[in-house]
Symmetry: C2
Subunit: 193 residues, 2 copies
Amino acid sequence: MAGLGKKVLIVYAHQEPKSFNGSLKDVAVAELGRQGCSITVSDLYAMDFEPRATRNDITGTLSNPETFSYGVEVYEAYKKAALSSDIVQEQKKVQEADLVIFQFPLYWFSVPAILKGWMDRVLCQGFAFDLPGFYDDGFLKGKSAILSLTTGGTAEMYSKTGVSGDFRYFLWPLQGRTGTCRQGAGARRGAAR
Amino acid sequence: MAGLGKKVLIVYAHQEPKSFNGSLKDVAVAELGRQGCSITVSDLYAMDFEPRATRNDITGTLSNPETFSYGVEVYEAYKKAALSSDIVQEQKKVQEADLVIFQFPLYWFSVPAILKGWMDRVLCQGFAFDLPGFYDDGFLKGKSAILSLTTGGTAEMYSKTGVSGDFRYFLWPLQGRTGTCRQGAGARRGAAR
């Protein structure tokens, strides 16, 4: 029972439960449960999760209604507890988690837009980081993160001499995201989308 | 009139017309117009552009309704002219363009989700590339692309020795996207989001 009492959040971005991604998510749920973890899954497509960063993310009035700055308004709204409920719910899951697993197929060398929207909207200033309060001092310090992704290409295509270039280059911006909030980041990969 | 008759598509991803991104877009429209180009702008937030890659992107029946594979279904739908109208409209704009300019603020070391969704959904197999028919043989061969982006951090933060690391690492996956379709890719950057 290595994971006894540990809390795991799986942020899962695939449309089809019977997909390889769906199976990887299911295996993680089963295995981590067997180890004594409690697991929460955010099934982004099933939730019809909103990826667009808009004025709707702030309830009530804006601090500057004349010129909308998303970053400024979301930061203020976080401090006033005035973010939209879907963001608040995801932030609560992240806050409670010891480990966050991102499970997704690689779309254009990165996460699918629905998952990018989760990152853009949930990991806002005030919650995940501040200035100062980023990288080594990020607010998610002490948590771990795993990128678990599948690709349409072969391993050879994503090697240093392969046609798509070294796989690690694609992971850099993703690992930068988790690094900014000071999560430890690992990666594992599968062979099919 | 250096650009006489050239067609330019600006894919623009900012919520606020009065933002620095909005100004960069406006200046590009004015200057390219002055040079004799014809310009089309896809204002993604104003269009409420859908970023999620779902079954709704395919009109009519699926080739495999039992197990949904987005990539397979979209490829088949492209060949049957059965993609949703919002995708078809954007593909037409790309097809007609000699140059595509992506104008956006950097969100978590990449494009905002709404623009990632444009890339995920519009640049589909069959339209932008095929297998074979990618990288040097991509279907957007001969077109040019510019990444015009703004950052929240300073230039120093994004240098090789800066806290965020070399800016070019973030651009790699983005340039990979344009490279797969064989667009020439350049980048310029501004100092504020």
